[in-house]
Amino acid sequence: MKKRIFIGEETAKGYTRREFLKYLELAGISVTIGGAGFFAGCSNKVDSLAGAKEFITRCGLCGSDCGMKTYIKNDRIVAVVPNKDDPNSKGFMCDMGLANVEQTYSPDRILNPGKRVGDKWVDISWDEALNIISEKLSKLKIDYGPQSTVCHYGVTEVRAPFYRQLFRRFSNVYGTPNFTGCGSQCAVSTMMAKKYSIGSVHPDYENTKCMVQWGSNPSSSSLLEWFSKVLPARERGAKLICIDPRANPMTQMADIHLKPRPGTDGVLALAMTNIILGNNLYHTDIAEKYGVGFSEYEELVKKYKPELAETITGIPAKDIINATMMYAENSPACIETGNALELHINGVQTIRSVMLIQALCGNVNVKGGMISSGEKVRLTDMELDDYKPFTSKGYSADRYPVLWQSRKMVTANLLPDTVLTGKPYPVKALMVIGGNPIVTGPNSSHQRKAYKKMDLVVVYDLFMTETAKMADIFLPATSCLERDNIKIRDRIYISPKVIPEQGNAWPEWKLWFELAKKMGYEKEFPWATLDEAIDEHLSPINITAADLRENFNGIDHPLKSGNMKELEEKIKTPSGKIEFHSQTLADAGYNPLPDYVEPYEGPADKKLLAKYPLLMTSGIRIPYYIHSQFRNLASLKAKSPGPVIEMNPADASSLGISEGNNVSISSLRGSIQAKAQLNKSLKSGIVAMSHGWSKSNVNELTDDSAQSLDPISSFPGYRGFLCKVEKV
């Protein structure tokens, strides 16, 4: 063949020479071109992998724990690929998992503790940092009581619940009742709604004949679940009903797609119940034998005819009927609800009414419907729940009694109010572990004011986030590949770390062990190593950390002994029955029945609507970011470069806005800017934005006033508030 005249962008060998050169320069960064990473290196032909050892672990960025193969040379990760042999993920990994290497070696990472002096950050040692924190916390305890310190956990909850338990242990020993975190806007509302209706159950995708995804978009938010559970169910022929004001990759393969006005899902659920009861499509024995309060509920639901639901939700009555019939006639069926249903003032009750549909149609504790995992043997309580009675109640315990009683949690959403008013008592210190509430919490400017006022703010993170910028002490965190992760679910397993801690970053458990020593809590934190703590936790089931390290795929968590059928069919509500009427809610002063309530800032408020005519649903998910994370990683940014506001094309054109125009978005709280993107799937009057952008932070627009929060869960109304959009 002719001699090569020029070696340009690509050689006939099929890898990009440009990539290859760049790769050798930046060994360890696995992504270069564009978004998906046309990566030259990971082939056994390439020199740079020579001598690299393969270590198998799991990604720790979200709860999916996708299997991962890492290639390590000289304690440095040179490549990361999905593990085809992982029984759970089977070779799946999302773009974020692949960007792990970029995150671990990002030049933005802070690898040493710091103290803020004015506007500048000064490097200090861990010893000095922990001394400052322990001295301050001890002094505050004497001057204002332990309740003056608030403990806030962020994403560590999802990534590493065991570490959150150590954090709670620390806060219980210190004596503060004020433990909060991402549970103020995620998952806890659903847990409460399920607890006071049908019990803690989840969809059985493997056997289901019909799935309803209600305010849930796993194709953008729960990628492994989408790939390994929802898609296969669809391929097997299960029906798919999507309920979402907006089209997404999943709705495009749905049998039925209903688009309710954001916040009106409760009416839709009650109308569906009305149709089911009216057509005798329900199991009467469930209602009568296993239910409590059915006749009250039946009475309530009578007025929610499909025509009324059409007026409120905007969905044609015949579509509501069709969807209901499809659900009722394709059994067993399951309904998955998402965070979107939680984030309205009517969140808990809405989800209750959705769950009760499933009970009525005989889909609870049934194969192919909603199933529970069976009660497991209890492990050693690491949080020391009963350490000592608190000397004060949590600062929001009175306002949110069920939240306080069921989870001993306060709401992060009222932190600014509490700090700035000094009521019910002074709050002076805050520890934020792996969270970014300045960006992801409601009413960001209000949050900032509160942070400025506090005496001590400690942030533990990898990067200088907007929240970290407001801290007094910054503590450097490890990335998930630098840290052992233990997961305790149906299976218990350890995902081992593959590289040492970078710089002076510490894993969370080490932070608590060492800070406990400074505070004099050696008795409560007696362990020398992480494994010793794990051993204590697992001792009731005779498993040790060493066992887990030998069995990478994990060991099953043993179930409580007893009749297996009974364990799986037990209804995990306080009464042991399906709760149409919840006595727990009634006792706390809430409506025991899941009636519908209009969202807080919505089109029903005509005066407000005149000034702010568009209804915003914020927090739509992007499969390249988790909340405010990863925006500094080039490969992911290439796929989703900036914040946009999605608008109905007719609405946009009536405002003189074209695709790509810079627009300002304002609400009663403030104003931000973003680029406009036209989305035909949105009905007129609806706009949608993603959250987590520090420069176009949609939480500058959201509300944290007590009357705007869900009275049961305290969750903010991110998914429906009024705004106006203007061309800039």
Partner: protein, 240 residues
């Protein structure tokens, strides 16, 4: 004439029998077959070895040049400068410049010109099958979009006028601006991964690991209807 070259490229491609299916180098005149004297100068001129010669079983097309993007796409005689930007190797595309008979016409190597090429000078047009596309099915990938030399002109990150709410890349071919160079085809990971195919298509192992699980699902979903890869350069009736 390079004998080894001809021998090396006389591998038969049964699917390329009819004239319509053959992707010619850029600049092929409408009467290409009558003008081409099978001299092989375009093959020599190509800096990337993209142009190959058809074999004996292609009938009248024997020893005429063609491009198979799955093996090597046309790089439009461009490379990447030290600043990371695309830059041309010369004023004209080399194959057309080298052709002695005008079977291939010389084309100015300018992005503005290339994206407005008259139809007759196109190699072909990229066609994306969304059912086979990892980006459309799963919201991952986007390789074709990032590797297109006419990115945001020929290959867009979203369809300009459809009801979609997608994050990330949902590749859309603007058929008017696409030259059919096939770089998108070359990087599309949706292909059967087996040792033979890897050697033929030169897709790095990384692709198999990165996209394997997703591609297997796509192939299983589509079974016999899967004409891989997801994006292919086809000749329209009006192309030469």
């Amino acid at each position: 004439m390079k004998n080894t070259g001809m021998l090396a490229t006389t591998v038969s491609f049964p699917i390329l029998r009819s004239k319509e299916d053959v992707l010619r180098p850029p600049g092929a005149a409408s009467d290409f077959l009558s003008k081409c004297i099978r001299c092989g100068k375009c093959v020599e001129a190509c800096p990337y070895d993209s142009i190959r010669l058809l074999g004996a079983d292609s009938g009248l097309n024997i020893y005429t040049p063609y491009i198979d993007p799955v093996k090597t796409p046309c790089y439009l005689c461009r490379t990447t400068g030290t600043d990371g930007k695309s830059k041309p190797l010369g004023k004209y595309l080399r194959c057309g410049k080298a052709c002695p008979t005008g079977a291939l016409k010389p084309i100015l190597n300018d992005i503005e010109v290339l994206s407005k090429l008259p139809k007759e000078m196109k190699i072909g047009t990229a066609n994306l099958n969304r059912k086979l596309c990892v980006a459309w099915q799963f919201s991952f990938c986007g390789e074709c979009y990032f590797n297109c030399p006419l990115k945001d002109r020929a290959l867009l990150s979203r369809p300009p006028d459809e009801e979609v709410s997608r994050s990330g890349i949902s590749p859309y071919v603007n058929q008017k601006a696409c030259i059919g160079c096939g770089r998108c085809v070359f990087v599309c990971p949706v292909r059967k991964f087996n040792a033979k195919f890897i050697n033929e298509t030169n897709v790095p192992d990384y692709f198999q690991l990165r996209y394997g699980a997703l591609v297997e699902r796509i192939i299983a979903q589509n079974r016999d209807n899967a004409q891989l890869p997801a994006i292919r350069v086809l000749k329209n009736k009006s192309d030469r």
